[in-house]
């Protein structure tokens, strides 16, 4: 057998170099590339146990062209806090300290430290790349796993029967200056939110929808399409919350039926076969969406024209 070697020269403007260890089509990797376009070299990533503990590479190499601080699973927010404190003492106010955690490290084991840092309004940016399960250990459910999904610990015979934990509401309850959702399928929206976050002082949280082809049982070329469908079906709305009070939906979705999103992935096979269950999931999504639209309306005093079409009555 012979090997064909292709020399890959990294783009000088790209701060994520080739040679990283992500799977093909990895949403978490696209998330990082996009984020680094905003942060540039003046950022340190604080990475708890997660896919990104592996993606960056094995010692003595690493793919990110910024400093990386690996830390234990439950400590992303507090390690970032410690680094921020040290850099402040050294007068390095010009750099961003970014906690870079998966959903397990954010929604579950890291929630205590995250709550502490959010409540103290630490001057850090916390980004969670959400692939909706413990993917690095091989697809076990987390509290981010959505209603109806298969994982290795919620098998087809007993798929996930609880809705995804609402992290944005938890952050809003801490009255942090900025919290936003984003998606790799809407890079302009994500980048705008990142830029906004970098201009705010205090605790900033961005929740990025980052599809995982092996974990979601889908082809690796579908990551962006699936991420887009999650938004357009109202499964993962794009919005931001300022000071825990002001809700703004930043993209008005088409309001497609949830099957359109589910059928692209193998993990929703059991729910797709169960019309009653599927209808329940759809009702849940509509209720959540309506609630969010009302919060937007309450924050701004009116609803834009395109909002009407997204409400339940329009389907």
């Amino acid at each position: 057998m012979s090997w064909a070697w292709v020399e890959v020269k990294p783009n000088e403007n790209d701060l994520l170099h080739p040679g990283h260890l992500a799977c093909q089509g990895c949403g978490a990797t696209i998330t990082a590339r996009l984020a680094l376009k905003v942060f540039g070299k003046n950022a340190v990533f604080v990475i708890p146990a997660s896919c990104w503990s592996v993606i960056d590479g094995a010692w003595p190499q690493h793919a990110l062209q910024i400093p990386v601080f690996h830390t234990a699973f439950e400590t992303a927010a507090i390690a970032a806090t410690g680094i921020r404190a040290a850099l402040d003492m050294k007068g390095r106010h010009d750099v961003h300290v970014v906690a870079w955690a998966g959903d397990g490290g954010t929604f579950d084991i890291g929630l205590q430290a995250l709550s502490g840092a959010a409540e103290r309004n630490e001057n850090i940016i916390y980004i969670t790349y959400d692939n909706e399960a413990y993917m690095n250990t091989g697809i076990q459910r987390s509290s981010s796993t959505p209603l109806g999904a298969w994982t290795t610990t919620t098998p087809d015979e007993r798929p996930e029967d609880r809705p995804k934990k609402n992290m944005m509401e938890i952050l809003a309850a801490h009255r942090v200056p900025y919290a936003a959702t984003a998606s790799i399928a809407y890079p302009d929206d994500f980048i705008r939110k990142l830029k906004k976050a970098t201009q705010i002082k205090g605790f900033r949280f961005i929740h990025v929808f980052s599809p995982c082809p092996p974990g979601w049982k889908m082809a690796s070329n579908l990551s962006v399409r699936v991420a887009r469908m999650a938004v357009e079906t109202k499964v993962f709305p794009l919005y931001e919350i300022e000071d825990g009070e002001v809700y703004t939906i930043t993209h008005w979705p088409k309001g497609l039926p949830v099957e359109e999103y589910f059928k692209l992935q193998g993990r929703f096979k059991p729910v797709l076969k169960d019309p009653e269950r599927l209808a329940y999931v759809q009702r849940y999504i509509e209720a959540q969406w309506e609630r969010l639209v009302r919060l937007h309306e309450a924050s701004h005093g009116y609803l834009p024209e395109e909002a009407r079409a997204t409400l339940r009555s329009a389907i």
Binding site: P67, T71, A79, G82
Partner: protein
């Protein structure tokens, strides 16, 4: 006028002695979570940082696990960092104690020895810190409040020379909440002893490295080897720095303290504030003509095997008094002392006493009883309980 003559003499509780040591060390980041009997350290440091007496960031965290995680990170971002805890708090930190060592973060932590629950008990016992002996931290035990202040300063110097985290240990209440005369040194003199902190592998935006990246089996073992070598180096560094400290501050410490040992046939081995009680008892025994002395273990990790052998070889009998217990085996200083003596020349029989758990008093008469019990016994035993009601 020499700098040392500018020292202030005052009366301090052990926990405040810690705080003054931290202040003199010019610590830059502090993070701690309240737990009895550590809390007054945090309170004093919070005051000092609030008034600007100490220029540091104090992070009031939501758990001890976060306290240690914060200071590991700040230490590797280039700031001298400190935390303090006790008992349950130290146990909660366990994961990150290993992390501090692996990441080579020279943080200093004070642990106030307190018994572990259940049953809830806030009084002194050494099991909390000794149970962390395999985490790779240096551990230094103390007998007086002056020693606590001195050791806090020394700990930063030693930790930052070998890039290993260091635990300074003092007894709950007997030291932490008891007032003693303490000399507080002039800042300039401490500055001469302890230069500003630098870490060669700290986060550097001009040389962006990954700190703590995963290492496959082809590299991991070398990291572990380097940590062991650093511990071996730490023994030498401890000797050097305690010598220098004695020259500059006039107080001499060593890995073990030798008390009335010159002609002693019998040796009592112990650590912490019980040594003060034991010294009083031994002085009484000496008046009765008993040839007995004390070896107080100050440095527990790295364990000073050579010094222990030098002191104990050739004695008639040795009694180790442990205010701690490794269930299913014996007192921990006892097993460490025995292991160090294995293969030593003229090894004496070594008797293991367990006393004072959960803060039960160890009185001078108890020390005398244990000494007399050891003299009477023929065969060594791993656990001889003192003062337990059964």
């Amino acid at each position: 006028m020499k700098l040392i003559e500018k020292s202030q003499y005052t009366v301090l509780k052990g926990n405040y002695a810690v705080a003054y040591g931290v202040k003199l060390a010019r610590v830059e980041v502090i993070s701690a979570y309240p737990i009895t009997p550590q809390t007054t350290i945090s309170e004093k440091l919070a005051d000092m940082t609030a008034t600007g007496e100490l220029k540091a960031r104090f992070i009031t965290v939501e758990s001890e696990h976060s306290a240690i995680s914060a200071v590991i990170a700040s230490s590797l971002a280039g700031a001298r960092s400190f935390t303090a805890t006790a008992s349950q708090g130290l146990a909660l930190m366990h994961e990150m104690l290993h992390w501090a060592t692996g990441a080579r973060a020279p943080v200093v932590m004070v642990n106030v020895n307190r018994a572990l629950a259940p049953s809830w008990n806030i009084w002194t016992e050494q099991t909390d810190s000794l149970a962390q002996r395999d985490t790779g931290w240096l551990q230094i035990y103390n007998e007086s409040n002056q020693e606590v202040l001195d050791t806090t300063i020394l700990a930063f110097k030693i930790a930052e020379r070998v890039y290993l985290p260091t635990m300074v240990v003092l007894d709950a209440f007997i030291l932490s909440h008891t007032s003693e005369p303490v000399e507080i040194y002039p800042q300039e003199l401490v500055d001469e002893f302890l230069p500003p902190y630098e870490h060669p592998n700290a986060i550097n935006f001009d040389d962006p490295r990954a700190i703590g990246a995963f290492a496959r089996p082809d590299y991991y073992m070398e990291f572990r080897y380097n940590i062991q070598k650093a511990h071996e180096e730490a023994l030498r560094v401890f000797k050097e720095e305690t010598e220098l400290f004695a020259e500059m501050f006039g107080r001499k410490y060593d890995t073990v303290e030798e008390f009335m040992l010159d002609d002693a046939d019998y040796v009592l081995v112990l650590a912490g504030s019980t040594a003060t009680t034991a010294k009083y008892a031994v002085a009484q025994l000496r008046e009765r003509g008993e040839k007995v002395g004390i070896m107080r273990i100050k440095l527990f990790r790295p364990f000073p095997v050579e010094d222990v052998r030098r002191v104990l070889s050739g004695r008639k009998k040795v009694a180790v008094i442990d205010r701690n217990l490794s269930f299913g085996h014996s007192g921990i200083f006892y097993m460490e002392t025995k292991a160090a003596m294995y293969g030593a020349k003229d090894r004496p029989p070594i008797f293991g006493y367990v006393a004072g758990l959960g803060g039960r008093d160890i009185r001078p008469q108890d020390i005398i009883d244990m000494y007399e019990d050891m003299k009477r016994r023929e065969e060594p035993e791993n656990i001889i309980w003192k003062g337990v009601r059964v």
